[in-house]
Amino acid sequence: MKMKFREAVRDATLLAMDRDPSVFLIGVGIIDPRAVWGTLSGALEKYGPERVVEGPLSENALTGMCVGAATMGMRPLLVHHRVDFLLLTMDQIINHAAKWAPMFGRQQTVPMVVRGVVGRGWGNGPQHTQSHHALFSHAPHLKCVVPTTPKDAKGLLLAALQDDEPVIYIEHRWFHEDEGEVPSEFYTTPLGQAAVVRTGRDVTLVGVGPMVAESLKAAQSLEQEGISAEVIDVRTLHPLDSATIIKSVAKTGRLVVSDSDWRPCGIASEVVARVAEEILDSLKARPVRVTWPDSAVPSSQAIESVFYPGAKDIHAAAVTACDKTRATGSVESTVKPFEGPF
């Protein structure tokens, strides 16, 4: 059935709670009638305050509580209105949640999911727009996913809620209104699998988050240049599905990785490094990373619009990689300003 991204998140959440009594929700402001942009609508009414646990503004303690509950076999889903707030909880995420299984010889598992929303748009500025998925893709025993379609929003959330390691689920508010076909029943999108969302011959465009749509747009415009582009949605950032990427680049010989995050030590770097390390000889052109510039995200629309890279940049990079000298530059990115002020 047709569903919006936000509805798919909600659908997965209610389905998981329904099927598994060990799943519960916790977070700051989750009993708010706005229900985290509607992604939790109805949960409180259906499951009550025992399973929809409103948290005080104590993100660090809430995260540790999830670790405690998870090791006892519960499956907490901790929800944050912004990814930025997760920085208050890094000790519990990396020193505790990720360490608990190995540190005690794998006697316990830590099946918890942390959802963080990226607040890009409407001048949200430097502290409400960060994604930071690279920070969650560095340390072992921790997973990180970034869904880009309603179908994956549901499938990845259900998979995360079944996984026995802590999973960070980065959600772009940007996608909330996107509509797509979503199976109404239970299913999972396996963690650790990238998706080839468009096949092509000449260049591989690997994208993360909103850059997948930009890559698809670029792929379309590249057709006019006579370039056939394959597009891969990374989906799970950690562990990274190199196999799918490698296979594609082995075929196309060219790589443009675009990421909705900063460049140094980011996912784009990781993708390029793996490709160079494993199939250097297949590369016919220098790989290119399209990422955020080395700057905080500005608030003013005048500079925000220059800040974010898009289809145009991917297009240009692919054209260069394919040794075409002419770039149409006609492609515009799919920017749709976020309209809510919050």
């Binding site: 503004l57 303690a61 208050l88 001048g123 500025g125 430097p126």
Partner: protein
């Protein structure tokens, strides 16, 4: 050295509140034009807090507002034109267009930058108070935050350190009963926030945060204490926000609070009760002066240049 409630102070109190109220009303009225593109956390209802406390401060004292920042920024003497330009996202904005409504600053006027992270600047204030102390002199730092911020661990960490080192620091909690749309009862086991201070040997008081004169008296005492080197104090100001948590609208439709509650608080409006502090003539004069300043600020903001940024590599 206690301060006295001179006619001049009275004017300052009322003027401070009025400036905030009228500015935000104008923001509210113009917001639909989509020229101000950043999330506004309106201060309306809280005006007595910022105006009352700031009237006890000197230029060299530093206030630390939170993201609900317009009130303290203006009451401390922050540049109105630069604030409006910031909301309009212009290069002439107080943060050069990089911050928006949640991130105002005016160091020259003693307004420290504000954070969109709840509790984010509480420890900054302690660091600045420590700096004041290290450098000698008798400047004071004042940090304001909501009831929700007191649930963050850093608030408690900072209370302890401030008391331990007798920092010249005033904690001001603006308790408006809600954090976003969750009532304090659903978040705090015991809701007398001022008592946290007691625990650390810090003088704490709860008072009517809509009574600007009471706020002024309490703040004057606390600030004098800090200046004497006797350490921090905490004031819990009971107040209420009139509009939605973030945005320009009323939000009774959400159902998390009642129309009765809102109107009971409206009946205690700080500007209505504060009106008696000045004569009719003075009030009229202020209205005119403020309206003219706001007109000018909006006009200039509207026509101000956009910021530019040279993101090296942005085009890659």
């Amino acid at each position: 050295m206690t301060q006295t409630l001179t006619p001049d102070v009275k004017r300052r109190l009322y003027h401070g509140m009025l400036l905030v109220r009228r500015t935000e009303e104008r923001i509210q009225a113009n917001y639909h034009l989509r020229e101000m593109r950043s999330p506004p956390h309106l201060y309306m209802g809280h005006e007595a807090a910022a105006a009352g406390v700031c009237a006890t401060l000197r230029g060299d004292d530093m206030v630390f507002p939170y993201y609900r920042s317009h009130g303290w920024y203006l009451a401390k003497g922050g540049d109105l034109g630069a604030m409006m330009a910031e909301l309009f996202g212009r290069a002439t904005g107080c943060s050069r267009g990089w911050g928006g409504s949640m991130h105002l600053i005016d160091v020259a006027a003693g307004v420290y930058g504000t954070s969109a992270i709840v509790g984010g600047t509480v420890s900054h204030a302690a660091g600045v108070a420590l700096t004041f102390q290290m450098r000698g002199g008798d400047s004071v730092a004042v940090v304001s935050f909501g009831d929700g911020a007191t649930e963050e661990g850093v608030f408690h960490e900072t209370l302890n350190f401030a008391s331990l080192r007798k920092l010249p620091l005033l904690f001001v909690c603006e308790n408006n009963l809600y954090a976003t749309n969750t009532h304090i009862r659903d978040r705090q086991a015991q809701t007398e926030i001022w008592r946290h201070a007691e625990r650390y040997g810090i003088p704490g008081r709860r008072l009517d945060g809509n009574d600007v004169v009471a706020v002024w008296h309490a703040a004057a005492e606390a600030v004098a204490r800090a200046r004497r080197g006797e350490g921090p104090s905490l004031l819990e100001l009971e107040t209420y926000r009139y509009f939605e948590h973030c945005g320009i609208n009323e939000d009774l439709d959400l159902g998390y609070r009642t129309a009765e509650e809102l109107s009971a608080w409206r009946a205690r409006d700080p500007l209505a009760s504060g009106r008696r502090l000045v004569s009719d003539g003075e009030a009229k004069e202020m209205e005119a002066e403020i309206a003219a300043r706001i007109d000018r600020a909006f006009e200039q903001a509207r026509s101000a240049p956009w910021p530019t940024a040279d993101f090296q590599e942005a085009a890659r």
